[in-house]
Subunit: 115 residues, 2 copies
DNA sequence: GACACCTGCTAACTTTCCTTGGCATGTGCA
DNA sequence: TGCACATGCCAAGGAAAGTTAGCAGGTGTC
């Protein structure tokens, strides 16, 4: 979802939950400037690799960043992340539309479900 | 923040965290159609009043909805909620700008803080 | 008075998220 | 061989969020 495509309810919740975190916002901001590999980005942000990796995984799961494995000149495997050029506009109307496709947590999973 | 004013980092996190919840999205969607009072809205959404009240409070704290206490014809106190016409556009660039004003959780609170 | 409707609050439980530390893998270079 | 760099994973504790149940108050009507 890199454009202003109307998000489904579940996708919207996932993206919002992913973005609702200072560390992950910093990661997106850093990658918006230029792509980076895990260890370097961890140093740049001043957080541990393990922590960064968890956040990167969530961002990737939400489709906000993508990973690309490359080999550096000296033969080391570098996992470069870059941000996805998403555009998400949030208004009450957009939310009302997305809610139509919200999955009920427990019962079923039919896309056309509503009450 | 009812317009596309550049959000501060902390505000952005707060709004995103508030919106990242199915119940709260449903509340916003319902209030986008028409304003409602607590008990009626709870019935409409099929959730308990206590639960709805918690979510309404969070939405109000984030500035997404507002409350207005009124008296019905038969003299009962009704707390009507209505949605705030917010417009929030999310892109990597917007996030990068917001991150500049992110508060560090522990150390200080200076806006110009960096590492 | 009993009932139905409205409002709010708190305590307590459950679940999820965040974070750290350690361990394992691989590479190239002195 | 040992060090420095890269990658990943898993377990465990602490913190925060979500949810329920129960309590309190108010009004008007039968």
């Amino acid at each position: 979802m890199s454009a202003a495509s109307p998000p489904t309810g579940d996708d919207l919740v996932r993206v919002l939950a992913t973005l609702a975190n200072p560390h992950r916002l910093r990661v997106v901001a850093a990658l918006a400037r230029e792509r980076a590999y895990v260890s370097g980005l961890a140093r740049q942000l001043g957080i541990s690799r393990a922590l960064l990796q968890v956040h990167l995984r969530k961002l990737a799961a939400a489709g906000l960043v993508t990973a690309r494995l490359e080999l550096s000149e000296d033969g080391k495997a570098m996992n470069y992340y870059e941000v996805e050029p998403f555009v998400l506009t949030l208004t009450p109307a957009v939310i009302a539309a997305a809610v139509e496709t919200l999955t009920v947590p427990d019962s079923g999973e039919q896309p056309g479900a509503q009450e």
